[in-house]
């Protein structure tokens, strides 16, 4: 892959950090990230068969190891630059290569943080939703995480497809756990997801025909000068459509609302924040690291089409969210809109816009997992699923709804929350390119977001007529147990912390995750 931006800083850091990392251990890091998931995947069903209660501790231990190695990888990349690991010592381009640059290290850390927090929450929630599903839940969660992590780490186009399918298998199964309509919704997603993955695979096929290689760096180097080759162009279009389907890019988002609504909250809380984001990651990987950005994104209408479709998705998703009565369905449509902001950044494709997109991958993951976890807590504690039944719950579940409120304000984009800053960079990028319509739409869409979130916030905290029924039927306090409330609060605090320290994150990680040659003004 490309040389990370700012290699002189890396060298500088390298002198200080070299002693901290054993050189051999470090070259194994990409694999060490995957191993805890593989081991966990083997152990969870086995131990779970023995004693159902062993499933959670086993999962948690493997996820903590996963988190540990993910963060170590991130720091190693920050200190030394890109890490590479050849599977079975077959050198690329023949062998499969795990290749971790700043972008993938960042992405895998996002996955790990969300996974750990959701697993802690799930330890109580899944047991209460349906104890029978405990072992399958944790096992399929690990399958999905393994797939997603593999997609992020691999440097091989076909291997990515394999992990794509692994993650999808886990995802379908997870989604099918839940409401009785969940299997139907999951089946619909299966059809759409398979279609998306197949389109991606066809794109890989075209590239293979042209280049004879599947290694991303190798392919990138070969197609650099083949911009007029129709096969390369077709492969790009196939990939964009396939990945667009997977990330629910408008107008290919129709599978998403049902899937998120009917799945159990614990499933949605792990799927919604990271599944579509990893597809967005792959799209960034393809458009900015494999295909030549200047010729393909700028030279063709591909960038503009992605940008405007995504902007349409923001508007349509937000309006649909306003129309919903069911809390989870509202959040599902909100996901369509929010993931579309990432699409806007990718389509615009300038350094600032990409910073906005990447920052929003993290920010939205934090906010949306928090919000879905809250819907789960509310459903378990009070049975409420409709927004109108949330009336007055702010007093009964104060900590849970503190997290909810912070995340909701982040979604609206009130400074200094993290959501404000993702939009801030998108807007700066748009202004720099003179895309005034886009800039105005990005800002105006936050008003739509405000409409559907303030409606809920108001209901939670203010006195409304329906509250009388709630008051009678519920005890004075209905706060979720610690292991459910704490992840919500941590995520809620993350909304503020990531907002206040966004500049640090951008300069230390995200700006260095940009493709070579892209620089953020001001850094």
């Amino acid at each position: 892959m490309t040389v990370p931006a700012g290699s002189e800083t890396l060298a500088h850091h390298g002198e200080h950090m070299a002693s901290a990392f054993d050189a051999t251990a470090q070259s194994q890091l990409p694999m060490l990230v995957l191993i805890p998931l593989l081991v966990g995947l083997a152990l969870v069903p086995a131990l779970g068969l023995l004693r159902r209660r062993l499933a959670y501790p086993t999962t948690l231990i493997s996820l903590l190891a996963f988190l540990y190695y993910s963060l170590r990888t991130l720091f190693a990349v920050m200190a030394h630059g890109e890490l590479e690991y050849s599977l079975a010592a077959w050198k690329p381009p023949i062998g499969i290569e795990l290749s971790v640059d700043m972008l993938s290290a960042f992405m895998v850390s996002v996955i790990a943080v969300i996974a750990v927090l959701v697993a802690i929450y799930a330890s109580v929630a899944v047991r209460r939703e349906d104890p029978e599903k405990e072992v399958p839940y944790f096992a399929t969660m690990l399958v999905m995480l393994l797939g997603l992590t593999g997609m992020v780490l691999t440097g091989d186009l076909f291997n990515l497809y394999v992990f794509f399918e692994v993650s999808a298998l886990g995802g379908y199964a997870l989604m099918a756990i839940g409401h009785k309509k969940a299997p139907v919704a999951a089946f619909r997603y299966l059809i759409m997801g398979t279609l998306g993955a197949s389109l991606y695979l066809m794109g890989v096929g075209y590239l293979y025909v042209v280049t004879g290689s599947l290694n991303m760096d190798d392919v990138a180097a070969i197609i650099m000068h083949q911009s007029s080759n129709p096969a390369v162009q077709v492969s790009l279009i196939l990939m964009v459509i396939g990945l667009g389907l997977k990330m629910a890019l408008f107008p290919m988002h129709l599978w998403l609302p049902d899937a998120y609504t009917y799945a159990s909250s614990t499933s949605t809380a792990i799927i919604a924040p990271i599944m579509t984001k990893v597809s967005a990651y792959v799209l960034i990987r393809m458009l900015f690291f494999v295909y030549d950005t200047e010729t393909f994104l700028r030279g063709t209408p591909v960038g503009a089409v992605i940008m405007w479709l995504a902007m349409g998705g923001v508007i349509v998703g937000s309006i649909m969210a306003i129309a919903q009565k069911d809390a989870k369905r509202m959040l599902a449509y909100s996901s369509v809109a929010q993931v579309a902001y990432i699409g806007v950044g990718i389509g615009l494709g300038t350094p600032l816009a990409l910073v906005g997109a990447m920052l929003h991958i993290l920010n939205h993951a934090i906010m949306k997992s928090c919000l879905f976890l809250v819907t789960g807590s509310v459903a378990l504690q009070t049975g409420a699923t409709q927004i109108k039944d949330y009336a007055g719950l702010g007093r009964k579940m104060p900590w849970t709804f503190l997290g909810f409120t912070l995340a909701a304000l982040g979604m609206v984009g009130i400074p200094p929350t993290n959501g404000f800053f993702s939009k801030w960079y998108l807007v700066l990028g748009g202004i720099r390119e003179g895309e005034w319509v886009l800039v105005v739409l990005i800002l105006a869409s936050s008003l739509l977001t405000a409409v559907y979130f303030f409606r809920v916030i108001e209901r939670i905290y203010a006195k409304v007529p329906e509250q009388a029924t709630n008051d009678a039927s519920l005890p004075k306090t209905a706060e979720a147990p610690l292991r459910m409330a704490l992840p919500v609060l941590i995520l809620g605090a993350g909304v503020l912390v990531l907002g206040l320290f966004n500049a640090w994150l951008v300069s230390a990680v995200i700006a260095r995750a940009l493709p070579a040659g892209m620089h953020v003004p001001g850094l």
């Binding site: 304000l409 009130i414 400074p415 200094p416 404000f420 800053f421 801030w424 807007v427 700066l428 202004i431 720099r432 800039v439 105005v440 800002l443 105006a444 936050s446 008003l447 405000a450 303030f454 108001e458 905290y461 203010a462 006195k463 206040l500 320290f501 966004n502 500049a503 640090w504 951008v506 300069s507 700006a511 953020v520 003004p521 001001g522 850094l523």
Partner: protein, 499 residues
């Protein structure tokens, strides 16, 4: 004036944070009202003491700066105590002390629900207000400005009646879009010039962009801050927001929130664009006329209100535009007048709102037509009310006269005699809508009244103090806080003259 001496200090940061830190304590003391109110009072006193302790620095022309950390590449989250910011911080923090005392009397007198939320939101608002006052650059300003928007919302809808909820919605539907205009204008500035630190006299120059671009930018800025400043036609959230409890109307809708809007206008005109550039792109006349029309129409509308608080709200809309007018005229005297009015209007209008609240707590009457003879039963309250209304009408001897005098002189110096005419007309209109209230209160009687008597000392003392402040500042504007010197120095910084 020489460039101000700057030095590092964390004191401005503490002045911002102290009320924020009080919030967890306030919330934790939910079930022990006395302890909870202790935290509020403690925070208010410490905040005021911190702000007051910075007065010598400001008078010496030394500016404390505090860079917290980078908030966007190349832009610091930073505070800076310049004279103009200090004026606003001083007004807000000193009046918060009085409002806190008054609030306690009020919410206990009316037995308000959810008092914890009320005091916590109040503390949040004050942190945001001081942050706005001391913000050293545009982005920091925007962040605190938006926090203020949000923190005020629970207070506007506090009563949770349908009217209050509707007022809350109206408030958000005005202030959120305005915030977006402000964000857009700020982002545009950042894209154009990179460094958005406030500089007296403006950091934009005609060289950085075309005149058309700069005009659009100015328009966006004014839309952004103009909603809180109540410039017509962006004002109508303010009368609606009178659904809030009276201390909220008193401190936020006469001092902190609306003055944050006006302060924003001053920052934008004086520290972003500056007099030279605004004369060059020719938009100051638009702003001046908007202000002139606003205070004339607002005075006319005020006359039609029977609800006392709504009448006061329209009066506030009018008086805010006096300040905007002074800023737009861009003379040394008019700016001095604006800054004086920023301080003096606060003491007078807060007195009037305090009085309205005291009457409401004792009698549950909100309409002026029901207040015949109330002056005989609540003599201190209505005497204070008389002081405030005379001052706002511009009667000499009360501080309102001094600020208006500067504004009037400023319009002559700017060769804009027409605004002098409008100011005089508005003075008459002020008299026309205020004097009848005082008249019926003292010279009419209502036989159906039971004996009401004064409200609790927690309410009467603050309102007497603000009335006395208005009187004292009316004869000795430089007493105590050196209000007049401060206003001159801040105006001189912007206009580039010597104070």
């Amino acid at each position: 004036m020489d460039p101000a001496q700057t030095f590092e200090s964390t004191r401005p940061l503490w002045a911002v944070l102290v009320s924020l830190l009080a919030i967890p304590l306030i919330v934790a003391s939910d079930r022990r009202p006395n302890l909870r109110e202790t935290w509020t009072l403690l925070a208010a006193f410490i905040k005021f003491a911190l702000v007051a302790s910075m007065l010598p620095w400001v008078l010496q022309g030394r500016e404390a700066v505090c860079s917290i950390w980078q908030i966007s590449p190349g832009i610091q989250l930073a505070l800076r105590v310049d004279t103009m910011g200090y004026i606003f911080a001083l007004v807000a923090s000193s009046l918060w002390v009085l409002t806190s005392l008054y609030s306690i009397g009020y919410v206990r007198g009316t037995n308000e629900h959810k008092q914890t939320r009320y005091f916590a939101s109040f503390a949040m608002c004050l942190s945001a207000t001081i942050g706005i006052a001391f913000a050293a650059n545009l982005l920091t300003f925007v962040i605190f400005f938006e926090i203020l928007t949000l923190a005020t919302y629970p207070l506007v809808m506090h009563k949770e009646t349908p009217v209050a909820m509707a007022a809350g919605h109206k408030y958000l539907s005005y202030t959120l879009p305005a915030g977006l205009c402000l964000v857009l204008a700020t982002a545009w500035c950042v894209s154009t010039v990179g460094n958005v630190d406030f500089i007296p006299g403006g950091f934009l120059t005609s060289g950085v962009a075309s005149a058309a671009t700069l005009r659009w930018m100015f328009l966006l800025f004014i839309l952004g801050v103009g909603v809180k400043a109540g410039i017509m036609p962006l004002h109508s959230w303010l009368p609606a927001a009178m659904a809030a409890p009276t201390p909220v109307s008193a401190l936020l809708h006469a001092v902190a929130v609306v003055k944050a809007g006006v302060f924003g206008v001053l920052r934008v005109t004086g520290f972003v664009f500056g007099p030279d550039l605004l004369r060059e792109i020719g938009l100051w006349t638009v702003l001046a006329w908007a202000a002139g029309i606003t205070f004339t129409v607002a005075s006319l509308l005020a006359m039609r209100q029977d609800n006392l608080k709504r009448r006061l709200a329209y009066s506030t809309v009018g008086h805010l535009s006096y300040i905007v007018l002074g800023a737009a005229l861009f003379t040394m005297t008019s700016w001095t007048g604006s800054l004086l009015h920023l301080m003096f209007h606060a003491t007078m209008k807060i007195t009037l709102f305090f009085c309205a609240g005291a009457i409401y707590v004792r009698t549950h009457k909100e309409n002026i037509s029901d207040m015949h003879g109330i002056g005989r039963q609540m003599p201190f309250t209505m005497a204070a009310f008389a002081v405030g209304s005379l001052g706002l009408a511009g009667v000499p001897g009360i501080n309102g006269f001094i600020s208006k005098w500067h504004l009037a002189q400023g319009s002559l110096q700017a060769d804009q005699g027409v605004f002098l005419g409008l100011l005089l007309l508005s003075g008459l209109l002020n008299a026309a809508y205020f004097f009848p209230i005082v008249y019926v209160a003292f010279f009419r009687t209502n036989k159906e009244y039971p004996a009401y008597g004064e409200a609790s000392p927690l309410m009467v003392v603050p309102l007497s103090v603000t009335a006395i402040m208005s009187l004292v500042l009316g004869v000795a504007p430089n007493l105590g806080a050196h209000a007049w010197d401060l206003a001159r120095a801040a105006a001189a910084a912007v206009m580039g003259g010597s104070p």
